[in-house]
Symmetry: C2
Subunit: 156 residues, 2 copies
């Protein structure tokens, strides 16, 4: 992974983000593997959803709130985009409650064949709309938007 150049869409992506939410395992992976020396999101307000809080700063808050309530509250506040950084369990809860507006998936050209599923524990299939695909250096970025729920009642 270290020598793999990602598409340069990351800079414009992160510039539109002012809030980042992640679970305990993702936080652990970032701080012990991916970016050991320096917290990589100094410009954003980050929330770590965990029951094991650590020393926090203005920009890095630990919370044991239910992620569904946390995201519902944050979405009501004005601001830029909220990035659900991971992991799969946190994402699953938000997908289930239809709280994810845009899915941005990056596909690395490697078959792992095992590991944690990105999407799990959904009770019912969710239809998405493809917004765009970008491919660079063998890496594909797929951006999907969730479909608005249309019920018979809404249509009448």
């Amino acid at each position: 992974m270290a020598d793999l150049e990602l598409p340069d869409t990351y800079i414009s992506f992160i510039q539109n983000v002012d809030t980042i939410i992640m679970g305990q395992k993702t936080y652990h992976q970032i701080t012990t593997e991916l970016a050991k020396d320096m917290w990589p999101y100094p410009e954003q307000q980050s929330y770590i959803v965990t029951h094991r809080p650590k020393a926090q700063t203005d920009k890095l808050l630990f919370t044991d709130k239910d992620p569904v309530s946390l995201v519902t509250e944050l979405k009501k506040q004005p601001g830029k985009d909220i990035w659900i950084c991971g992991g799969a369990n946190l994402i699953a809860q938000l997908v289930e409650h239809d709280l994810i507006d845009v899915y941005q998936l990056t596909l690395i050209p490697t078959l792992l064949g095992q590991g944690i599923r990105l999407f799990s524990e959904n009770r019912a299939p969710k239809e998405l709309c493809l917004l765009r695909t970008v491919s660079q250096n063998g890496v594909v970025e797929l951006t999907y938007e969730r479909k608005k729920n249309v019920t018979t009642k809404d249509r009448s």
Copy 2:
């Protein structure tokens, strides 16, 4: 799925295929759900890998051969492309033995959240090369080629 239009790359794909291999479950799904009335691959030689053979024709053969031996033999014969139609277990065995040259993946814009993994039981990650991406009507087709194994010995 019924009203989802797939990219029109299928016709040129199938025209380059003269041999199709699938497992018992995929065969069952095709003949009981996807194409109940007529076998959809009349132009190709199809092999169904199963221990439960049914009445066969010239174009539709049932075999209880090990799929690795079957594909190894067929690849030695002249002809067009061999399509490994599915399912996941059959694919896993061929991936493991590096017998798949090209991976053509079609992504439907639906989060299932459960079901059979497309790639499973690989012992080690496999690096692929992205050949192309095509997107149409919200469906994305990704084509990858396996990387040639390069060892220190080959390079010397």
